[in-house]
């Protein structure tokens, strides 16, 4: 299990480090919001989910996309704006999707997908499908009206949904304490009538175990559950670098989180030979993903107007003028 988790964490970390390395060349045609430092939340929760389960995420969505099983080469090609991208180059880093893996989308408008996830959960239950929804969002999203509205609806309809708040304390450059009169997010979830628990989002084993426990309860029909996973973003809000020069946070604050780096901590628990094998395989996969992205053509001009609407005529109706 540890090796499997390590591969998932290391794969995301190394890919994003490579994205950051390549970014100044301007080959990547999309703003990137790196999840470096926060990978354990997505990896732990997705490990507790099943292939038929569905997740929705945020514009900081690389980790979730990969953890749920999205194709790495299609993601890199998407960042490159190429035809082989998971959205054909029309979505970019902030709109990754992998329906075949149950990754149903991300939004660049904070909080938006919370309600979409609840609607998806309604549909799963309506169809008596044996699946649940994992809904990922940040601490900033909990200030949006749609957060409160959706939690109310999820409890009202006893939806099969697990809410995961990735609390990294910052909405862009503004600390939670400057945005929330009472920064107790779990309390707000409980006030809507669902159980909620704060967990260490950098301890991937703890995330996995808790997510397994509560996902089983959600799956059993007990209704929604809420987890607040405490974590930390290492890089700038958007872009490949660091941002201590802006002065809104200190290096000292970051260092304590980096000391508890989930990737390094897990690496220490793995057999050295196995670890070397994993790291070699990941390096090959990443090199291959970038090579395939570079080899993919840009979409042709006809793609500009394609897929605004479904182009085939709609089904099964006698049409009259």
């Amino acid at each position: 299990m540890s090796a499997r988790l390590y591969r998932a964490l290391y794969r995301i970390r190394r890919l994003e480090e490579e994205i950051a390395r390549v970014y100044p060349t301007d080959k990547i045609k999309s703003p990137v919001h790196l999840s470096i430092g926060q990978e354990a939340v997505s990896v732990g929760v997705c490990e507790a989910l099943r292939p038929q389960d569905v997740v929705f995420g945020t514009y900081r969505g690389h980790a979730l996309y990969l953890a749920k099983g999205g194709d790495m080469a299609a993601m890199v090609a998407e960042l490159y704006g190429r035809a082989a991208g998971c959205c054909g180059g029309k979505g970019g880093s902030m709109h990754l999707i992998a329906p075949e893996a149950g990754m149903m989308g991300t939004s660049a408008v904070v909080g938006t997908i919370i309600a979409n996830a609840a609607g998806y959960a309604y549909a799963l239950r309506y169809r008596r499908q044996d699946a649940i929804v994992g809904c990922f969002f940040g601490d900033g999203a909990t200030e949006e009206g749609v957060f409160a509205e959706t939690l109310n609806f999820a409890v009202l309809k006893c939806l099969p949904i697990l809410f995961i708040c990735e609390n990294n304390r910052y909405a862009i450059h503004t600390h939670q304490s400057r945005r929330q009169g009472r920064p107790a997010i779990c309390e707000r979830a409980r006030a809507h009538g669902m159980p909620a628990e704060r967990i260490d989002g950098n301890d991937v084993i703890a995330v996995l175990e808790k997510a397994r426990e509560v996902a089983a309860r959600v799956r059993a029909g007990e209704g929604p559950w809420f987890l607040e996973a405490m974590t930390y973003r290492w890089r700038e809000h958007v872009g490949p670098g660091s941002d201590y020069h802006l002065g809104y946070r200190t290096e000292a604050e970051a260092e304590s989180w980096m000391a508890a780096d989930p990737v390094r901590l897990l690496a220490e628990a793995i057999d050295a030979a196995e670890r070397a094998r994993i790291e070699r395989e990941v390096a090959d996969e990443i090199a291959d993903a970038f090579a395939r992205a570079e080899a993919s053509p840009f979409p042709g001009p006809a793609e500009l107007t394609r897929d605004v609407f479904k182009e085939e005529p709609h089904a099964a109706a006698p049409l009259v003028g």
Binding site: V54, F56, G85, C86, C87, G88, G89, K90, G91, H95, I97, P99, M104, G105, S107, V109, T112, I113, I114, A115, N116, A117, A118, G119, Y120, A121, Y122, A123, L124, Y126, G145, V146, E149, T150, N152, F153, L156, R306, D307, V308, F309, K310, H314, A315, A316, A317, P318, L319, V320, G321
Partner: protein, 374 residues
């Protein structure tokens, strides 16, 4: 082209004759707009279990003017339910259901309330298919109603359809006749993309011919509702009724107006409108909305682009006064175009100069029964 139900008795008479002459006539009868919307919903829900219906008060005793009456009892609370007062999240939930393959119909008793749902409609529903490279579909229908009369006031009366026309990825339909109310709703439910279905409170009382079986009125096809050669009147939503009344007033002064109902505002059938204006040379578009950046502005602009240099044109728009809607009837009647002001403007357009003519007061259309709250 099927008969236009707004011309009710004449149409129904013609329909009866046609029935006698055909071996396989369409079965139909006179229904109200409300009954047509309800029947379309009922038939689609019976046909397809993925169709579900929700919104504030859809299952309450008033049943959205009767358009959802009996459906909660027939299809159960999982398929038909009233929602919390959460337009944002409920629209987002509707999008999520649609992404999962359901075909939700989300109902708003006033179009004004859609302002609380703009993020989900504009940023998610409209963009889902494109932004995800064709890998997502959002087959969502959003029904909403424009209010008018009985002091609806500034926040219960707005016609905001042009806001949605502005956004690629959304279809917008504003049927005026019961025939189209049913056919367009069925088309909207079967459409694989999001459709804004715009009703008007005063149209709910219109009666007309409606076939019994299901049928779809194709997106992007306008309807010529009355033939004429002197001026083309395009009436949007309820203004279709006022344009048809204006036509009768114009006949008294020897002007024969053509009337067109665009039915679908997006996609917009400019071929039908431009072909008409190429004949008449005069276009008056009357909207139940504001003029600035509005549906009428779009139609007039497209007509001008297509026909400039082809023939001389006289163009005009009418719609809401450039103010919020006042409550008092003394001001409210000045806020809206009506058959008389439309006829006067059309005559001026035909004459090419202000004539000062204004027809005598008309009785309210008999078909409009709206006298109370809601």
């Amino acid at each position: 082209m099927p008969p236009h139900p707004l011309l009710d008795e004449r149409v129904i008479g013609r329909e009866k004759k046609r029935k006698q002459s055909q071996t396989d006539p369409p079965a139909g009868r006179t229904l109200s707009y409300v009954e047509a919307v309800r029947e379309a919903t009922d038939q689609e829900m019976a046909r397809d279990p993925s169709v579900i219906l929700f919104g504030l008060d859809v299952d309450d005793p008033k049943a959205i003017q009767g358009t959802t009456r009996g459906l909660a009892e027939k299809y159960g609370p999982e398929r038909v339910f009233g929602t919390p007062l959460s337009e944002d999240a409920m629209t987002g939930a509707a999008v999520g259901m649609a992404l999962a393959g359901l075909r939700p119909i989300h109902v708003h008793i006033r179009m004004d309330f859609l302002m609380l749902a703009m993020n989900q409609i504009v940023n998610v529903a409209a963009k889902g298919r494109y932004m995800y490279g064709g890998r997502a579909s959002v087959p969502l229908v959003v029904r909403s109603m424009i209010g008018k009369s009985w002091g609806q006031g500034a926040q219960h009366s707005q016609g905001l359809h042009s806001m949605f026309m502005h956004v690629p990825g959304l279809k917008v339909v504003a049927p005026a006749a019961p025939y189209d109310a049913k056919g367009c709703l069925i088309a909207a439910v079967r459409d694989d993309d999001p459709v804004l279905y715009v009703e008007h409170r005063l149209l709910h009382f219109q009666k007309g011919f409606v076939p019994e079986g299901p049928y779809a009125v194709r997106p992007g096809k306008a309807r010529v509702t009355a033939a004429g050669e002197d001026v083309t009147l395009v009436g949007i939503s309820y203004m279709q009724v006022e344009c048809l009344r204006a036509k009768r007033l114009l006949e008294e002064v020897g002007i024969n107006a053509e009337v067109i109902d665009p039915v679908w505002l997006s996609p917009l059938d400019m071929d039908t409108i431009a072909e008409a204006v190429e004949r008449t040379g005069r276009l008056l578009v009357v909207d139940t909305g504001w003029l600035c950046c509005g549906a009428a502005a779009e139609i007039v602009a497209q007509a001008a682009e297509r026909l400039q240099g082809v023939r001389d044109l006289r163009l005009r728009r009418m719609g809401f006064a450039p103010t919020p809607c006042p409550t008092t009837p003394a001001l409210e009647k000045l806020f809206y175009p009506d058959a008389r002001t439309i006829a006067a403007a059309a005559r001026d357009l035909v004459e090419g100069a202000p004539t000062g003519w204004i027809p005598d007061e008309l009785p309210e259309p008999e078909s409009i029964e709206f006298r109370g709250p809601f």
